[in-house]
Symmetry: C2
Subunit: 380 residues, 2 copies
């Protein structure tokens, strides 16, 4: 009875007239023993192996919805990310009307997964940037020669950007093979850093087959990259976090292929829980997400909940940077700084290409707008 | 211009009044170059690096929806599963009103991904079972001692089941550590096979951290397991297929954590495309899915489309078994055989525990019902 338990809050919108208790119990069974209730061995109930309903709170929605808190034994999920996700939202992902709105792991679980290795303070220390958001961009488009991508990065770095990541579509294509691209870009950034005396960090995209990703991580590390961009749902929810930790690389997460969680308030996980809470627990130093008002459909509230999940108190884990992106422009910098505050990695991608053909000019304009906005905010 | 291209049909339900062409072009750009249209280098359009709209077909829905066929250069996705998914449904997963309803890869892509290694014919040959569906079960519940799980498996095997898989919640928990569980279960099945002269195959669940899964595969292989159960979205869409191929193991896929694709006809992928077409192309010999009429919400039509995607002609790839599951019972065997026909791995899980405390008795009842249904179907 005393095995430690972690807690998940499911927002349930029942799609049949059974009482809410029956829906909640379905989850308790489906995510653990997965057998008819009357077949569950008596000892299983006593030992708490079945999920346990801790509270049911009506929300007064129409149709009626409820926040149901369910606890699970930690030793069912172990310290492995796939196992945790399997318990949180495995088979029930295929049922309707279940949304994860809160996840509370135990201190031991948080310690085992470990959270960000660098975090906001570590990245700021290494960039020597304080008192303003980070100026971040994505290098694109796919299909340019690696030489040309490196030229753009050199210019962005000379112009003062803090963080450059690969566009997530840059994988290992023959027009910019992974190793050539990463080596040339890091080289161009090193040269610019040497000229300016400033620091720009580069996060190459890590993706590919199971047998490719570790070699990519090792290569990025050997080239002196500060971090890596990983797409957890494409290469495996554990894979990128695990390898980045092994090779001592900072982690920026990308939301590609996650979006089906977010279309409907009745299904999936909230952006805050998947891209914020969980990715941070797993090790995200920076979490990229599509900002409200861009090309995507997150609401302002969802974005702020996500930012809070990255930065708020969480059992001693380091905070990480939220990185609003997806259709952002230099004109929006002021509003974004007002909205997200200082500890943010503001990401402007394609709009820098549009602003000027010279990447140094675009970068300088971005940085100027950012510093002005941050200074304006700092003054009364 | 002559680079080979593959084709995807997106069902688009526009959520703003722009013309359908604009929505379709959004996808072409978002999934490739991901920059403002007027920044795309002219050579990129000419080289076909941007996705290309091949056709737009109004469906007459309300609100208006359209089937839009878009082609992409194969060398953008390469032969890596994460890259292919990134192009098919990466960032656009976070936009609304886009559903993948068809995917047509090129012959070279199909050859590179390879499809099922064993397929229906290979599994039948090795089981020596012809002319009827396979009798399949899941060993459960989580939390029993490995010894007890092995006892159940021995009984199921004596009773004549063809295929036994782990319940997908059985990972590497201390009450049934992976190696102990797999060794004991395979041993019990070997003993039963020796007694009956029949063949039962065992598929242990492979999940865990990046650094654990390969050792699990190697262990399953060393114990003589015929195949493995893999959860592609939990361990990485490529991981399990890649390793099973490396170790010569048959692949059964599990749909855990995939369900957010299926809640709404306007978002995600259809079950047929994700659990059928793609999983088969990636290597699924058997694809488990939640049958209509059980605890989950797939419709009969969705289930049959999925079965067709597993078994239909697909550029010379072997067909695989669809495996309807999720709340099936012995009473439903006749209806399931009528509905799915012979080349099906009928999966009854918890209901066997409910049928009798003696697994051999339950298995025999299942097999008897299956043989009767198959014989009835064979006769005029």
């Amino acid at each position: 009875m005393s095995a430690p338990r972690f807690h998940v809050t499911y927002r349930i919108t029942p799609d049949d007239p059974r009482p809410i208790e029956a829906h909640a119990k379905d989850i308790c069974i489906e995510e653990t023993v997965e057998i008819p209730e009357d077949c569950v061995p008596k000892g299983h109930w006593e030992a708490g192996i079945v999920g346990r309903i801790e509270s049911i709170t009506p929300r007064g929605g129409s149709p009626g919805d409820y926040d149901v808190n369910i606890s699970y034994r930690t030793d069912i999920a172990n310290d492995a990310i796939p196992n945790l996700l399997n318990v949180l939202f495995g088979n029930i992902s295929i049922r309707r009307g279940i949304k994860i709105v809160d996840i509370q792991l135990t201190p031991d679980q948080l310690k085992a997964f470990g959270g960000p290795r660098f975090g906001i303070a570590g990245i700021r220390r290494d960039l020597k940037v304080h008192g303003r958001p980070l100026a971040t961009t994505a290098i694109k488009p796919l299909g340019l020669h690696a030489r040309e991508l490196a030229r753009l990065c050199g210019g962005y770095s000379l112009g003062g950007l803090d963080v450059i990541k690969d566009d997530h579509g840059l994988i290992d294509q023959h027009f910019h093979p992974f190793e050539e691209r990463v080596a040339r870009i890091q080289e161009a950034i090193n040269a610019a850093n040497a000229r300016t005396g400033r620091v720009t960090h580069y996060y190459p995209m890590i993706a590919g087959r199971f047998d490719q990703v570790e070699a990519q991580m090792a290569f990025a590390r050997a080239q002196g990259c500060y971090g890596v961009l990983i797409p957890p749902l494409l290469i495996g929810p554990d894979t990128g976090f695990h390898l980045a930790r092994k090779y001592g690389l900072a982690v920026m997460t990308h939301p590609t292929f996650t979006g089906t969680h977010f279309h409907d308030p009745r299904h999936g996980m909230t952006p805050a829980m998947l891209l914020g809470r969980l990715f941070r627990i797993f090790g995200a130093d920076i979490s990229v997400f599509p900002n409200a008002g861009g090309r995507f459909t997150f609401t302002g509230q969802e974005c702020h909940d996500l930012a809070a999940a990255m930065r708020g108190e969480l059992g001693g884990l380091k905070p990480g940077f939220p990185s609003p992106a997806g259709g952002m422009t230099i004109e929006k910098v002021g509003a974004m700084v007002d909205s997200y505050g200082e500890d943010t990695a503001l990401l402007i991608g394609g709009a820098l290409l549009k602003y000027s053909p010279d990447p140094e000019v675009s970068a300088r304009a971005f940085l100027t707008a950012l510093e002005a906005a941050a200074a304006g905010k700092a003054r009364p």
